[in-house]
Amino acid sequence: MISASSTIQIVKALGEEPAFKAGDRVRISVRYPVGHYRVPIYIRGKQGIIEKILEPAAVNNEEEGFGRNAGLKGWYYRVAVPLTELWPGYDGAPHDRLVIEIFETWLERI
């Protein structure tokens, strides 16, 4: 039995906790995987805001594409990007936005 007076120090594994939280400003990385990817080119390099952490942590889908039925488990986030940020000369309303799921390995804090 754990006594009420003892403190438990635990260390969490890397990736066990999401690196980002709702409201964080992020930039979607720019790199060019060939063969398969799930981050459309139109969103790369753009800046947005984390709307939501998607629970639970899940396998990196880009790794699943080559049939190992395995891959690094991590966090996906719903990231909101204003359409004015995506498309120069966007002529809809200035508050229109795109929301897209991005895996943590593609996000940089800004």
């Binding site: 998607l54 909101a80 995506l86 897209i100």
Partner: protein
Amino acid sequence: MTTHDHDHDHPKIIDEPMPGYYEIMETAVRELLVEKKLISPGEIRRQIEVLDSRTTALGAKVVARAWVDPEFRARLLANGRAACEEFGISFYDDTQLIVLENTDKVHNLIVCTLCSCYPRPVLGLPPDWYKAKPYRARAVKEPRKVLAEFGTEIPDDVEIRVSDSTATVRYLVLPQRPAGTKDFTEEQLAALVTRDAMIGVVKVNLEQGIAV
């Protein structure tokens, strides 16, 4: 030349056109996988039944319930999949569901620019236009023009939010309940909700009639 007599059996004359190349490929792949005992014919038949059982009517029921039951609505918005499972709608593809609420201030629409991700467990299979280039290319770039092509005008003071699916979350738009439906039964409400309203390209209105 002999006369054609009938004391032998004809193989049945099948009144169907010859299958095309890709149909032959599908048949051949399936038969080989069954021969190798990697899949069984029963599994394919069963999965066809699963697919046939998923139609827009399921989504419409969920929307109608959310319109009449505020607590269900809250559960639906908190966890779309769990709320649909209350109706017995199973998520055979192990996707999650986020339900996007349309309000006087926000109008949502859904797209999959990379392929054709769609909330199949609760809506069935997507229409061809959803999977084709024009919708997928333009919904993320000029959503208001896309909506206009569907006859939908969203005022400038309403925010448009386009959700592009790329992973294992699927989306369902919860349209606004139209005015003039205060005395409608849940069934009558469900009959108003179309597939296109749950994709977000149209609103629900009284002229729409039976769900697609």
